[in-house]
Symmetry: C2
Subunit: 278 residues, 2 copies
């Protein structure tokens, strides 16, 4: 594991690392923020999954999360959004291939050789991070757009792993929107029955009551993708039927950009802190 960058930030350390990801069969980078050391327990971790076209760096440089994370004593782990490199399959469009891994395990070629972001984020990267940094056991997860989808499916598919989950403008029902239909057809094939295990709405309908965790979703009502790609009300209806403790907030005037995320990231961090630090 090789450190690419380190910056002091709000009294803590912002670092970027590169390592060989055996799950993905390529070199990967990730970014981590370590809050200032304090006495007592090591810091819990908030995982952040980014959206289409992003890398591990967008959230670190644009969201302004380190200020609050430093104050609360929470570490931030920011992975990349897909496998990378010349040997990794790609597509000319922004919503398929590199930068668009959709946090699943692909089963169709040419994607299946590398696109196993779900296994990478469930097993390999957490194990690596726990072995290299002094961090607590408690974790939460959040993300934006495709990364909001990733955060929700990680939480829904792994009961007990995360104390809480949140998302900004997540793709909640990828089986039924253009972004998801395109990606799932490529990565998983045309048989839609194979898609539902990667769909937050389907997963929530199939969930058991004891696996519910506190969930917060923020959605701007001036987001150009709201009606066509995001539709958080579909997940809210699933949460209602399942009595899942989910809050969906519609934020007037906000769009899909990092200015939206920056405006509300403090509230998300304080939401997670209730469960991470207790």
């Amino acid at each position: 594991m090789e450190m690419l960058e380190e910056h002091r930030c709000f009294g803590g350390r912002q670092q970027r690392w590169r390592h060989h990801a055996s799950t993905l069969n390529c070199a990967m980078t990730f970014t981590i923020f370590l809050p200032p050391p304090r006495d007592g327990a090591p810091p819990p971790v908030l995982w952040w999954l980014s959206g289409l076209t992003c890398t591990d760096e967008n959230f670190a440089s644009k969201a302004g999360a380190q200020r609050v994370a430093a104050g609360l004593g929470i570490a931030l782990v920011m992975p990349d959004t897909s496998p990378r490199g010349d040997a990794v399959a790609d597509d000319e469009s922004y919503d398929l291939g590199q930068g668009a891994g959709f946090y699943l395990n692909a089963t169709r070629q040419p994607w299946a050789a590398h696109y196993r972001m779900y296994d990478y984020l469930r097993d390999e990267l957490p194990a690596l991070i726990q072995s290299q940094f002094t961090l607590g056991d408690r974790r939460a997860i959040s993300g934006h757009s495709m990364g909001g989808h990733g955060a929700l499916i990680m939480a829904l598919k792994n009961p007990g792993r995360y104390a809480s989950v949140s998302a900004f403008a997540p793709i909640v029902n990828p089986c039924r929107v253009p972004w998801g239909e395109k990606a799932f057809t490529a990565y998983l094939g045309a048989d839609r029955s194979a898609w539902t295990e990667w769909d937050s709405c389907a997963l929530m309908y199939a969930s058991r009551p004891e696996q519910a965790i506190p969930t917060l979703i923020d959605q701007g009502d001036n987001d150009t993708f709201l009606a066509g790609q995001l539709q958080p009300a579909v997940l809210a209806e699933a949460a209602r039927q399942k009595a899942w403790p989910m809050t969906l907030r519609i934020q007037p005037g906000y769009d899909h950009s990092y200015y939206f995320i920056a405006s509300f990231i403090e509230e998300h961090l304080r939401f997670h802190a209730q469960y991470l630090l207790k």
Copy 2:
């Protein structure tokens, strides 16, 4: 004047505009943050000047200043760092030409045709902004690196215009460091006597007592440019001799990046607010 982007951000509006700059003889962009409306006087303005290679967008997306500006009721104006376009002279290096205007008026060709950032920032852009937005009369100015140089010379050359000035890792003595020597030789010619009117240290030594304004400088001690290009102690000595009210803070462990700026921008905004809002 054409609006390129608008985003809601911390309850205010983050906008990007393009206009024809007659001073520079080219199209220019600038970015502005308008805090949430409140009763009473229109918001005062903090001007932010960015560093080498930056545009009007870096500070807006990376510094996290909008949160504090929204809370205090201060507008932020973020100009570009040089004239732009295919018709504008440029250089292959990052520290000369486009992205490296050094906030001066060039007198040597091929630069003199467009590189008049000082006049643009002193006259044309403020007049345009005052005519297009409802803003108060009080202004302060800040910047980073080359933009810290810009902020300091704007304040030193225009007594009474700014209530306060601050800078992150500014180039304070460009006449005597490689960045400044290269740029000033190109833009102003080899005669060093023409350089001193663009040098904060020379300007401060020549200043009259009544033009002093509150000044704050932050400098990271892990900044790779500290010894060779920045040397804020040279300006601190000028301030001491002139009894100029300047605070120079050395921030341990911090480097030249936006992670440094993000970590201390709140303190700069609160510093300026003391003078802008009274």
